[in-house]
Every structure is written in C-alpha cells, then in structure tokens.
Amino acid sequence: MSGPLHPQISLYAAIATRSFRRYSTYTAATLAGIFTNSVFGIILSFAYLALWEQNPSAGGYEADQAVTFVWIGQALLMTVALWSGGSTDDLAERIRTGDIAVDLYRPVSVLGWYLAADLGRGLYHFTTRGVAPAIVGALLFGLVTPSPAGAAGFLVSVVLAVVVSFAVRFLFAASAFWLLDATGPRVLLSVLATFFSGLTLPLNLFPDGLRQVALALPFASYIQTPADIWLGRHTGLDMIAAIGLQVLWAVVLLATCALVLRAATRKVVVQGG
C-alpha cells in the first residue's frame, strides 16, 4: 500500500473497467440470465402474493413491499454473485491449477486486484441482470419506489453488499490453498447465502432467535439490508446503523482475507511446476 495514491486508484479503476468489459462480451449469456431472473421473479411474486393473502403484513411487509422485495432479490442475486460467477471463482480455479503463482509474481495486492475485478463485474451485473428484470417486475406488478434518501442509501448499501459478499467468497475460495479444491466449501456457501441473505424469504419472517442471528450475519448485507433501505424500513439514524453494520463486516472480513492470504503464501505451496 506504499507509494502515491493516484497510480493505485488508476490501476484498480483500470482492473474494474477491464472486468466490466470482459463480462460484457458475453451478451447471449446476459440475455439468457435476464430471462431466467425474470421468470424466477414472476414465480416468486405469485407465491409471495398467495402467502401475503393468507397473512397480510407478514414480517411487517405489505403485499406490494413483499413483491418489491422479490425483485430486489432477483436484481442483487447476480450483482453479489450469490451462487457463483464472481472474480472469486477465478481465484479458486487459479489456486487449483497453480496459476495463482502468476498473480503472486506481480507487484500488486492480490486482494485488491480481485476486489477491483469483482466490483467491475458487480457493476456490469447490476446494470444488466439487476436493472432489466426489475423493469419487468415493475411493468407486471408495479413496484414500491424509494425516497431520494432511500435510493441513495440503497446504492451505497449495494456497493457494500458486493464488498461483503466478495470477502466471504474470497475466504471460501482461499480454502483451496489448504484443501486443494474449493468445490465443497462453495456448495456450502451457496446454501448458507441462499437462506441467510433473504433471497428465499425476508429474514424478518424468521422465528424469534433465528431472526436476530440471521440479521446480524454478513449474509444479511447481500439482499436484506439494501432491500429494507429501498423499502423505507431503515431511515435516518436507523439507515446509518444498517449501513454501518455492512461497513463493519466489510472491514472485518477484508482484514481476515488479508491475513488468510498472508498465511497461505507463507505456509502453502503453490501447486504445480
């Protein structure tokens, strides 16, 4: 982290830009993904509507808020690379093949590199696979729109969602340094993230006890926190506290990533000749 700030920022901006461009070359995949997200969104919306008819204002959400929650979930699913598709997939693969050696030979922070790449990717996925299905949802169901402060808070919260999710994925991918293959941990992570991010059901609907735990976990940063800010459930100081918790997780997890990476390069052999 030595040297002037400016070249560092310009480097990471360049990495993020290239990463954005890299994903944008696969147009067909993006279109297929938008279609899938939209179909998922429609199915979940009808399920939620049925549920909320039985139990109006479940978890403190009105039916239109619940449907909006679904589409925010679909919009952020790829943005935070909840199941896969982030720069951390490249990391796991490069550890497995030993190509990570090439990254380590460079006079640049490996953690900063992959984070910048993931932010570039996240921006691409947000503007395509995030925005497009949300428009479909808005046209079909009519979504709740946020206040200007809510919209601004939402965008900040989404950036933090990508950072937190990146750090969690980085830790799971880095397990490949010791396990040689990170497929198992990645499956476990997908299950945890699906359940605890709010993707399947808003965390506020969880029973007492589990709810408090789930809301405190880093996975809540993925979807639950940005969605609640969009829906106006966190405003004023409450919004700052919610974003503050995301910042805290981001800092703690990134610091852990740095330590793990250092331990890995000290102790562990880069695979292959």
Binding site: G3, A14, R18, R21, T25, D99, Y105, P107, V108, G273
Partner: protein, 315 residues
C-alpha cells in the same frame, strides 16, 4: 556482488500419508537441499534436471513466492520472500504452461494493465512495446482476445508482457514447450538478441536440450535438490564420460578398424562408428585411419547432451 546469490538454500516439505484408519505418518521431503550458486549479470544459464529435481521449487524461492526453510537467496540485493513485491518490479517470469495475459481481453488491454501494475513510464512502455511487438511479430494480434491466439502466438505475447517493465532478470520455465520448430527457433533468436543487446540475465529451465545448446553458456544440473554439475556446456559434455564418435565410410567392407585411442562400437557394411573420449583430439585418429585404410568419407559427431545428462543423473 553477484546478481543472484544462493547459499546452502534448502526447502523441505512435510507430506502426510494415511497409515491405517486414523493414523497418519509424515514424511519430510527435501525438495531443495544445500544448494549454492552465483549468477552474474548478463549470464544465460540453463537450469536443468529431471522432473521433481527441485527446479521449480528453486525458481519459486528465487522469485519470493515460496520461503526457504534453510540457507539464503539474494536476488538483485533483495531477499525474495521478504521483499517479493519490490523484487517483482525488477524481474520477469515466463511460464510455458501458464499465461500472465488476461484470457478474455485483447493483448493490448493486457499490456495496458501491466503498464499500470508496474508503473512503467510512458516512454519506456512505448519503446518496449514497439520493439517487442515488431521483433515478436505481434502487430496483427494486438486486438485479438488472448483466448483466440495459438499457443505460439500466446507464448510470444507472454514474453513481450514479461519484458515491458525492463526486468534485469528473466526466468523462463519451459518457454518452448509445445511449440513447432520454426516458432522455437524464432523465440531462441529473440532471447539471444535480448541478452546481447540489453544485457538481460536469463535463467532457463527446460527439458528441451536444444534450448540449452542454442542459448546457454552455462548449465546448472540439479538432481534430488542438489547441484550435480555447474559449468560451461562443453565441460558438461567432457564431464559425463561422454564420448565423441568418428564415423568412417570405407571404400570396401573391412574387419573392425583397430587403432589406438578409439574403439569400434558399430559396423554396418563399409561404415564403422568409432568412439573416443570427448576431451581428446580427433586429428591423430583421422591420420591413423587414413594411413591404414582406403577412406571414402569421415565425419565427427558431438555427444548428445541428453545422453550426458542421463549419465549424470544415473550417478
């Protein structure tokens, strides 16, 4: 002070093995053991040995991505594992089997990223790009995504990438693996020119002994983690009980030629093969043969270094 100083460098790995249902035993493997050598600026050194001899482990320690468990290495005055990033600005690494380019991006974009990573001054970057692109014939490929390049093209792209920041030392790990003969030849020519014109120090690991013959003045042979030979290529030949071969074509078939200082190893019609020590001169043998027989033709074959090295390993 030498550019690369290696003193009693060792690296051991603990390998755990299953021994029964719950017990595990560990075995300590010495990948590199008490290795010492110096490399001066401007040398071209071949670093060779069989698979598992410790070549890659040595390179990993010299570049700082693996710490030594004993002894020391000093590269350009830096301690690699402690000053990895500082050292990275002064060295270049090329792997035949890995790429440092970005798969989905055109070459131009990869080079642009490297310019920022190494903070290469604009003038240096432009000059190096122009030079290497011309010499490596990459001009038409600059806008092609790396995934669409052939192996040979990608390799050239990788070498240009490794040289953009003017490294003092270039490590090449199997740089010609998988390349056709023409590509190999051009690559060797480029590396030779790089060494002569810019004084770049080259350290090359390879299984292709023609790489060594074409490029290296000096060879370090490593086996079981220890250097078993370190010296110029001709003395490697002399060292390994190598023999040269005098091939004699007689006018007529004859019984095996009996002369002093050589022995017949093979007879095929009028052609006979005589082996003699690599260090000895061929002149007296030729004179003896010519005096005693009707000779149609003569030729001398140098020992194959592959044979020489095989003999070294066998010791």
């Amino acid at each position: 002070m030498s550019l690369i100083e290696v003193r009693d460098l060792s690296r051991e790995f603990t390998i755990r093995k299953r021994a029964g249902a719950f017990r595990r035993t560990s075995v300590v493997k010495h990948a590199v053991h008490d290795l010492s050598f110096d490399i001066e600026a401007g040398e071209m050194v071949g670093y060779i040995g069989p698979n598992g001899a410790g070549k890659s482990t040595t390179i990993k320690m010299l570049t700082g991505i693996l710490g030594p468990s004993g002894g020391s290495a000093l590269v350009a005055g830096l301690e690699p594992s402690r000053q990895r990033r500082e050292l990275a600005r002064r060295i270049g690494v090329v792997f035949g089997q890995r790429t440092s380019l970005w798969w989905d991006l055109p070459l131009r974009d990869s080079y642009e990223l490297l310019r920022r990573i190494y903070r290469i001054p604009d003038q240096t970057f432009r000059r190096n790009l122009e030079d290497h692109v011309a010499l490596l014939d990459l001009g038409d490929l600059m806008d092609t995504p790396v995934r669409q390049l052939s192996l040979g093209q990608r390799m050239r792209g990788d070498i240009a990438a490794a040289l953009l920041h003017d490294p003092e030392i270039l490590y090449l790990d199997e740089p010609t693996i998988g390349l056709d003969v023409v590509s190999k030849g051009r690559l060797r020519e480029f590396l030779r020119a790089l060494n002569h014109e810019r004084g770049t120090t080259l350290m090359l690991t390879t299984h292709d002994l023609q790489d060594i013959e074409a490029l290296c003045d000096r060879v370090i042979v490593i086996d079981h983690g220890t250097a078993v030979f370190d010296g110029p290529l001709p003395s490697l030949r002399a060292n390994g009980d190598a023999s040269r071969t005098l091939v004699v074509d007689l006018v007529d078939e004859a019984s095996p030629i009996a002369i002093e200082g050589a022995r017949v190893v093979k007879v095929e019609g009028p052609r006979q093969w005589l082996a003699f020590p690599a260090g000895a001169s061929a002149a007296p043998l030729v004179a003896q043969v010519a005096a005693a027989y009707d000779v149609a033709d003569l030729s001398i074959h140098e020992p194959d270094i592959e044979d020489v090295i095989r003999k070294l390993y066998a010791r």
